[in-house]
Symmetry: C2
Subunit: 433 residues, 2 copies
């Protein structure tokens, strides 16, 4: 049977992502070092605390621990999240909160509640692919806004808005990751955060603020106050704020949350009802206990140290092996180094070659809604050990030198067949960090 005729228009447009193809490659190639996915470092997971907490929960045999639960989330967890938010300068009532099954579900709920087919969602250039996929899956259109070294370019926002309005488009929101953005690692400047609120008011759009990495600032180049969420100064109720425990506790528990104006939170709740009824009851209780017992609070300093070190190792290796060839903005937090290669480099071709050298990354073009970024790449330093990061960068640099040599000789690139070029050209985007 051929199923093409049975698919929705949204399904017809869905494409397998470049990263997923790479995931399969990664499983086939022995000893490959993957700098591709934005996975947290598993040795930072508080295993012993989780074990102790879970044993206590299952031992207590409270029926609700393994039962269906309220769609909004487990009440004590919601209360604990209020405390976490307060620590970030955000006062949220229970009516404004919703637990989600990972932040990806939050993005999906945002898409479904706020976007009609043909509506425009603004995203950064480049932007997190999982958000773009969620918005595209409701057949919204995406438009990109450029970024400077200190985050989104507000003048470009004005230009893009004017141009879209002139075309008669309905722009619903700007999706923004102010803290250590995925994929660039950029930190949005403090004054720009307030200006962004003004701009949102002026253009009458909402801001969807995604903040998975805020707690992971690196003390050598950033401080906590740099990460103050836009939502903390949102007097009008223009900001839908998403955050998650995936990067601070563990992504295996699918627990994240949305803080939004209560009228929108109520809609997210109803949309979530028909999406997965509720987030896992045990997962929510484990996270709640991890907050109550101070496990989450203890994670912060530890994670900042671990990831800052890995960032330093990656930067040092890049400098050593490819200094002068590659450039990147210094990551002040988060998981990623955003690399620009010489203009002659096609990162798809580089990836093919890198795979033969036993290293993977994500081609930068996958993050650009406008198809640009051909010579960019995203390197994640979060998951591999420092030794593997160093070796991975060494391999990548070898591949880069080889590719440049080939280009210099005019032989042409290594081709892209092994990886496919599904990335930007087909409008494909991909989630998971």
């Amino acid at each position: 049977m051929n199923y093409d005729g049975y698919l929705s228009r949204a399904a017809v447009m869905m494409r397998e992502s470049a990263i997923r193809k790479m995931g399969a490659v990664s499983a086939r190639v022995p000893d490959v070092i993957s700098l591709a996915p934005g996975y947290p470092s598993p040795d930072t997971f508080p295993w012993q605390d989780f074990r102790h907490i879970t044993d206590g929960l299952l031992g207590a045999r409270d029926a609700s621990t393994l039962q269906y639960g309220p769609t909004r989330g487990f009440r004590p967890l919601l209360d604990a999240i209020r405390g976490v938010l307060r620590g970030r300068g955000i006062e949220a009532s229970l009516e404004e909160l919703l637990v989600t099954t990972g932040s990806q579900q939050g993005l999906d709920l945002v898409a479904r509640v706020l976007l009609d087919p043909g509506d425009v969602a603004l995203v950064e250039l480049p932007a997190y692919t999982g958000a773009m996929a969620a918005f595209r899956n409701v057949q919204a259109e995406l438009a990109g806004v450029r970024q400077d070294a200190d985050g989104i370019d507000l003048d470009d926002l004005d230009r893009v808005m004017a141009s879209l309005r002139a075309e008669g488009k309905r722009v619903r929101f700007l999706y923004v990751v102010p803290n250590f953005q995925n994929p660039t690692g950029l930190l949005l400047a403090r004054e720009k955060r307030r200006q962004l609120l003004d701009a949102a008011r002026r253009h009458d759009i909402l801001l969807v603020e995604d903040d998975p990495y805020g707690e992971l600032y690196f003390s050598d180049v950033a401080e906590e106050s740099d990460t103050r969420p836009i939502k903390a100064d949102d007097l009008d109720g223009r900001v839908v704020y998403l955050s998650s425990f995936s990067k601070t506790l563990a992504p295996g528990y699918r627990v994240a949350w949305i803080a939004a104006p209560s009228a929108l939170a109520a809609k997210f709740e109803i949309a979530k009802q028909a999406t997965d009824i509720c987030t896992g009851a045990l997962d929510q209780r484990v996270v709640w206990q991890a907050i109550e017992r101070g496990v989450l609070a203890a994670q912060g300093p530890r994670l900042r140290t671990v990831y800052q070190h890995k960032r330093t190792v990656m930067e040092r290796a890049l400098q050593q092996h490819a200094g002068g060839l590659l450039t990147w903005p210094k990551p002040r937090g988060g998981f990623f180094v955003w690399v620009t290669a010489p203009a002659a480099i096609d990162s798809e071709a580089l990836l093919s070659r890198a795979m033969r050298h036993g290293v993977l990354f994500v081609v930068g073009s996958a993050f650009f809604v406008d198809g640009s970024g051909r010579n960019t790449l995203r390197l994640a330093f979060s998951a591999p050990s420092p030794e593997r990061i160093e070796e991975g960068v060494r391999r990548l640099s070898a591949a880069l030198h080889e590719e440049l040599e080939t280009l210099r000789q005019g032989v042409g690139s290594a081709g892209t067949s092994a990886v496919g070029t599904g990335g930007a050209s087909s409008g494909t985007v991909t989630p998971t960090g």
Copy 2:
């Protein structure tokens, strides 16, 4: 700020469900007995096994246990699910399988991959509200097909199809729960299952077969072979089959699955990527171990005994307290007794009165896409203890007698204000069993 202008058309149509309102009422009223939600009985959860399994998993500290994982699901769990399916007569390859975050996510993926706005999904009269909500949330239209005592009325299916085609409507699939249907508890006759496959071929539609209750047959009036899924005889690849561990292990782990033609499974996977990336890693491993260690297999006989007894207790109580007034098809499995009250009864009014007597149920009209079923109610015997079931039915019967007496005196009903009439009239539907 008023957010009405920011909502998608789908969001504007979303309404809070009658059941959720009842949930809030239930929390307010002390000692209320809820026969409303289709929750499994928590004393059937294999607590000790879960505790032991989880402790082993967290103790082993395999990084993948708490990490992001493949969207398709944890490979050993997928293999184990193949074994579960084989036990039901279904041969499924890995390419045809996908783990979902509860079956509700499966329904949502089905909706998103198979339905465009304006497309028609056929559902049974009455049908599971969570499915209807998922289909409506992508702005599909629903059309109802009548049921006989042995399940869906195939002649009515032909009539409905003819009428929809005459209107130029595009019908994509029929959603059907053949085993102990929610809300009626009906078992689709064996010969009708094959006829349904023929009808699907003839009408060129797919079948979405939802099978959460198949293992819960009651041996006094049914046998395992009665529950053979339609999918087991699906030679063409017309059936998308959904099932879950929520009723056999525990719903607190959000682990369910879809078995579908590989071309569709691939689309479900891509849709799921942007929905929640992956189902919880630890949850999947716990379920996998529960299958491997024989915990799931041991649950079957135990659950059948427990729920059959509860069914018997509820039927006996109904007979004793309201025999002659209420009628219902004998449940041959599952969680529900589907009750028809005298024609004069409005179940919304009855519910208001029942609440004052300290008992809750779900008004039947919530399950009817055509707004009918005014004098029907769904009673779930799954969660409460036998003693509470008996007392709940006693209270319900007292409310019924009082309501009938009031009607007889021409005083009029007790009104519906306390519960609201959001149910069928506003097209509202509600998930969670």
